[in-house]
């Protein structure tokens, strides 16, 4: 980011030759997502240790599993932000569509004995159909009423899943996916790399879909609805259809994420149906920066990583030896994450994604930024 600001600061005074240099630089830095993608793609081949960040080499099965979960939740949070940050809809029922993807696929495989591909298609369709149906109903009320109806539907589904009707959902224990129905390349610890690539592909798909969607004419209407729904109506557009489209798209992406989750964890668990799950998605999005391109992804990755690492930390010997005042809060990752979340709302409005811009703005002047020895306050 300093490379980008440096020439820009000087180009105003120095003129043409540097201007082309800055343009070339910017064109080069525009490709950083592709570079990052390549780097992420090669992770399973790497034995690079990241001490402190991960336990052991980065390409180990345990770490790959964690990284895959991080990528999955990055994608899931990005899909959720389609509602929260792009359309301004505060849904408390997003877990339902995620769980629909997981549970329908798993149940079809277990009960009907269909192969994975067919079950996955059914799971995806179920997520899309469910979000279309429930979205059509809940969008009839707006504002906090909408949040409450989505919460009510998700809660109803959560109760239903935990009630285990006819032994289909497995109740509070959930149900493991049948290993014989899954493709052999996706089962077993030696194939974790494949699962990792699937999670990476999911993230890329979600990012691409969301990016395309918000740049399309429909995406502009979404933005209008977020800013001022009444004005969109005055312009002669019916917000209902547009909101429903966002809801169904986000629901389908969540169901797709549910499929990936089923493969990654090898089963369906009722924790993914609870309102706490939706709340954690909300935390991820706000942590990273709602309504920004990379923010929700960053938030999802950070949250998932922090959650797992803090859980490891809580069980470690170093923590057990600390005095009670420090040990007690450290033993509950959710406490730290909740506190961190509140802190981000205060100190970092716009989330982590706004951090570079804020740091840049906090620098005293372009000249000082150029010399580099002046640290950002």
């Amino acid at each position: 980011m300093t490379t980008a600001t440096q020439p820009r600061g000087r180009s105003r005074t120095a003129g043409h030759p540097l201007d082309t240099r800055s343009r070339r630089l910017r064109r080069a830095t525009r490709w950083w997502p592709a570079l990052l993608l390549v780097a992420l793609f090669t992770v399973p081949y790497s034995a690079l240790p990241l001490p402190g960040l991960l336990d052991g080499p980065i390409g180990g099965p345990g770490n790959l599993q964690l990284l895959a979960l991080c990528l999955l939740f990055g994608g899931l949070a990005t899909g959720y932000d389609l509602l929260l940050g792009r359309t301004g809809l505060l849904s408390f029922g997003h877990a339902l569509y995620f769980a629909a993807g997981t549970y329908v696929t798993n149940t079809v495989m277990l009960e009907a004995g269909l192969p994975f591909a067919a079950s996955a298609l059914l799971g995806l369709l179920a997520g899309a159909a469910l979000s279309a149906l429930l979205g059509a109903v809940s969008l009839r009320v707006s504002g906090i009423g909408f949040s409450m109806v989505t919460l009510a539907f998700a809660q109803a589904a959560s109760i239903l899943v935990q009630r285990d009707p006819g032994g289909v959902t497995g109740g509070e224990e959930g149900r493991a996916a049948p290993a014989d129905r899954l493709p052999a390349a996706l089962v077993g610890i030696e194939h974790t790399a494949n699962l990792y690539w699937i999670a990476l592909a999911y993230l890329v798909v979600v990012l691409a879909v969301v990016h395309r969607a918000v740049r399309s004419p429909v995406g502009r209407v979404w933005e209008g609805i977020k800013e001022n729904e009444r004005r969109v109506e005055v312009l002669g557009l019916r917000p209902y259809g547009f909101k429903l489209l966002a809801f169904v798209l986000a629901g389908t992406l969540a169901a797709l994420g549910g499929l990936v989750y089923l493969l990654l964890t090898g089963g369906a668990t009722p924790q993914t149906t609870t309102s706490d799950f939706t709340l954690s998605l909300l935390v991820m999005v706000v942590l990273g920066g709602s309504g920004s391109r990379w923010g929700p992804t960053v938030g999802g990755v950070l949250y998932t990583w922090a959650d797992h690492r803090l859980t490891d930390l809580a069980g470690s010997d170093t923590v057990a030896g600390l005095p009670a005042v420090v040990r007690v809060p450290l033993s509950q990752p959710l406490f730290l994450l909740g506190a961190l979340f509140v802190a981000v709302i205060y100190l970092l409005p716009g989330g982590v994604a706004r951090l570079p811009a804020r740091l840049r703005a906090a620098r005293p002047s372009p000249a000082a930024a150029e010399r580099e020895e002046v640290p950002a306050p």
Binding site: A156, I159, L160, L279, P329, V342, I345
Partner: protein, 295 residues
């Protein structure tokens, strides 16, 4: 017949618990437009405060007689103080950012139960109640546990006190006016922010009292109790019409009764389902809730 009577009392007891949580939620939402996700945490704080005091940690408090009353008073006081701190420290700096207010309460609502389970463990702790309240009494051939009536009595007392406060005092007048039209009250030169803190204190006290007496009802306290009650309290608030106290009272009775009867006469768990489905249906027919308040 005896089953119906027992179910009615149990449903009313549960409804009373919902009302204690929902009354504060409803007032806070009506006045400040903040959906307080930390309200369940306030209930848990009250429950743990009472449990802590009644287990003999607070001198003078105990599990029986006057000692238990003191423990309940202590738990309620802790809940009230927490609510005031929550309003002053978390909500107040975000007055200009309404959505962030909700998000901040979500964060607090996640953090506080986690802190409680970090300190006292995530397992349920048996709640020491007075022996006098553990018995039953006979109504129309049914043996009804006494603690249900305590909850119902407390809820009625809170409803009466809140009604008196809202209709007879100047602060109550400001709160009522603020629920109707906050901008107008501010324009008349009244500092509504004082009313915000007041409403939070009242809501926190009611929720903490609910937590203290909920310990009697469930016989134990656990960190997640408040959060699971909160969802049904939301249902009550929305059903009753946000900001309406009478609506919340009616809705909590309805929700408690529907839940108990459906859980008993169909399969367990279906009552909880029936309640949320009813909420969805009601919102679609009457988006403003039972009492026609603005949602």
């Amino acid at each position: 017949m005896s089953t119906v009577v027992l179910l009615t009392f149990t449903g009313l007891g549960l409804g009373a618990l919902y009302f204690l949580v929902a009354s504060g939620l409803s007032l806070i939402f009506g006045l400040m437009d903040v959906l307080n996700f930390a309200h369940g945490a306030l209930l848990s704080v009250g429950a743990y405060g009472t449990w802590w005091a009644a287990s003999g940690h607070l001198p003078g408090a105990g599990s029986g007689g006057a000692g238990f009353v003191l423990a309940v008073v202590f738990g309620t006081a802790v809940g009230t103080v927490s609510a005031v701190v929550l309003e002053l420290a978390v909500i107040r700096p975000l007055y200009t950012r309404p959505r962030e207010q909700i998000l901040a309460t979500v964060g607090v609502g996640l953090a506080v139960p986690a802190l409680l389970s970090a300190i006292w463990g995530s397992d349920a702790r048996p709640f020491p109640g007075p022996k006098a309240l553990s018995g039953t009494f006979a109504v129309l051939g049914a043996e009804v546990p006494l603690n249900r009536t305590v909850l119902i009595g407390a809820a009625l007392a809170v409803l009466g006190a809140l009604k008196l406060f809202l209709s007879r005092t100047r602060h109550g007048l400001v709160v009522r006016a603020g629920v109707e039209d906050r901008a107008m009250v501010t324009a008349l030169g009244i500092d509504v922010r004082k009313a915000f803190t007041l409403v939070f204190a009242i809501g926190g006290a009611a929720a903490a009292l609910g937590g203290a007496l909920g310990g009697l009802y469930f016989g134990s306290v656990d960190p997640e109790q408040g959060t699971s009650l909160l969802i049904f309290a939301f249902v009550v608030v929305v059903t009753g019409g946000m900001g309406s106290l009478t609506g919340a009272a009616l809705a909590s009775v309805a929700v408690g009764l529907v839940q108990q009867f459906a859980n008993y006469y169909t399969t367990a768990g279906l009552g909880d389902l029936a309640v949320v489905v009813l909420l969805a249906a009601l919102l679609l027919v009457r988006p403003r809730g039972l009492t026609g308040r603005l949602a």
